[in-house]
Subunit: 329 residues, 2 copies
């Protein structure tokens, strides 16, 4: 009998878990609330409850290859330590992998979400068949994962792959959550798109825009979704925000191609759902900012394939051998 | 008897070669003019003459572990192909590694200079004992080498590690040789420093500066060396150019630390010879632009150790096993 892999995606609001086959098929899944605000003991107990139920459904420790755990950062994938995540109040230097291993007698690994999602895309998502992949998810923040030879590159302290905090405009007035300026996250993530639209609506205060109607004139109601919607309906200001987002991502990815010379780039996350207008703007920009435009044009920019349950797949991917073929995608 | 490694550094003006022990000691070296302008046959013959003399000095093919060849780019280290280097007129898709292997019966590899120099620093230079190292050489251009697990990371097409063409200021008026704007090479390499000083002398045309005297008022005579000299003598404008160079390099390296989480950064090249004032400015900047200032501060920024003959050592490093101890540095 082929062994199953358990993937657990621990978020601030819910714990999602699943059993995945060696070929990447999800055979059982389960969600419980995290109860993060009730503190460490309560949230740990919810996580353990999800693992327990899936463990029993799988048929005990002998049926499991491993348990992959995606936890909120900061964490250390080398040691399985969850350090002090803002999303999990009361957690401090928790040896989560060790705890799970001891309780269930199954090998466990802890990983951050972008790294794991990148690996999952390579093993059974958009980048099957590629070895060196730069993965990016653009949503509330910008997370990246560096996959080299179908493995996550972790760096010296396990915190490599923070590509969202590479600045393409160090003089930018847009401050990043990390304290620096012009990081791609501060320019192109969802909240950054909304901020740029707000600034434009104020500066160009006479310009008509659907965004004024869609938000009832309340600037703080601008969202990337509304921008995408207005752009689709032909709104010039909204379109320019989408195009500018593509420009920023393109300049940044040109740099990533120069550094990594990847087989492919995979782009996912909520903002990437804008789809063609955004991807086209990125693709137009990359060669114009590349040392080797021909090569840059040939590096595929693929939309992420794993959307629903990407966390479970990502966690499970930590125990999948590279090279397995996708079964069900 | 321990085998020797031959390192050949092919430049536009000279071919430097040497025999290096497995522990990184140079036991014999030799230089001939490249005669690049006389065309393909002439320059190839000079290269082969250097290899022949060293081959005979070593005691024939049995005495050699391999021949490392640093050639001007673009080239493909996977196939040993030298594509069409501007510095070697008449060369077009030359299978240099294959040619050398066939002629001498010894395994040969072709590599670019920054990658090889980075590897040499890890194997027997400034970064001995480190596994993941980001190497940068700041001179006429900015070359980088990504060393992962004591090996050169080549990427998909063998052209990874072009970190000089990562832009930190895509809106910068400073155009890069690659066509993009604000690449670190366009801001912080030697010629870029000179250009920035020239612009400042023009803009702030009433500001006194030693640079006006040192160049006899001829702006095109400004060099990084003169800037360093003036800065050392306390010239405010020259000092600000050095500090700005450190700021640019620091912003950029903060991004490289976020991506690679390296054990160490090694910085060499002519501009790095400015030494302390430059390194201090870089070190001050990095944490201020880092997502993890504590970690960034702990990542050592080391001056390169291999200066003279770095090309020969770099070429030889292609055949050195990781983990050997330095003998003579």
């Amino acid at each position: 009998m082929r062994k199953l892999i358990m993937g657990i995606d621990i978020g601030g609001t819910k714990v999602a878990g699943g059993l995945v086959t060696a070929r990447g098929r999800l055979v059982k899944s389960l969600i419980l609330p995290t109860h993060a605000r009730r503190g460490y003991a309560a949230s740990l107990s919810q996580i353990m409850a999800v693992i327990r139920q899936l463990h029993d459904a799988a048929g005990g420790p002998g049926a499991l290859e491993g348990i992959g755990l995606l936890a909120p950062g900061p964490l250390n994938p080398h040691t399985g330590l969850v350090i002090n995540p803002p999303n999990l109040p009361g957690w401090k230097n928790v040896k989560l992998a060790e705890k799970v291993e001891r309780q269930f007698g199954v090998k466990a690994k802890v990983e951050n979400d972008a790294n794991a999602a990148g690996l999952a895309e390579v093993l059974f998502g958009a980048a099957v068949g590629y070895r060196h992949v730069f993965y990016v998810t653009v949503s509330t923040g910008i997370g990246t994962g560096i996959i080299i030879n179908k493995k996550i590159y972790h760096g010296s302290n396990g915190v490599a792959g923070e590509g969202g905090h590479v600045s393409i405009d160090y003089q930018s007035p847009y401050r990043c959550g990390c304290g620096s300026f012009g990081c791609i996250e501060a320019l192109a993530a969802g909240p950054a798109m909304a901020r740029r639209a707000q600034v434009r609506l104020i500066q160009d205060h006479l310009a008509p825009s659907l965004l004024r109607d869609l938000t009832g004139g309340q600037l703080n109601r601008v969202t990337p979704q509304l921008i995408a919607q207005a752009a689709e309906r032909g709104d010039a200001l909204a379109k320019s925000i989408v195009e500018e987002t593509g420009l920023f991502l393109g300049v940044w990815l040109a740099g990533m191609i120069a550094l990594f010379d990847p087989d492919a780039i995979v782009m996912g996350g909520g903002v990437a759902q804008i789809g063609k207008p955004l991807f086209q703007a990125v693709r137009n920009t990359i060669p114009r900012h590349s040392i080797n435009p021909h090569l840059a044009r040939r590096t595929p920019l693929l939309p992420a394939k794993l959307k629903k349950n990407v966390g479970i797949y990502g966690a499970a991917a930590l125990f999948l051998r590279a090279g397995v073929e996708a079964e069900n995608f």
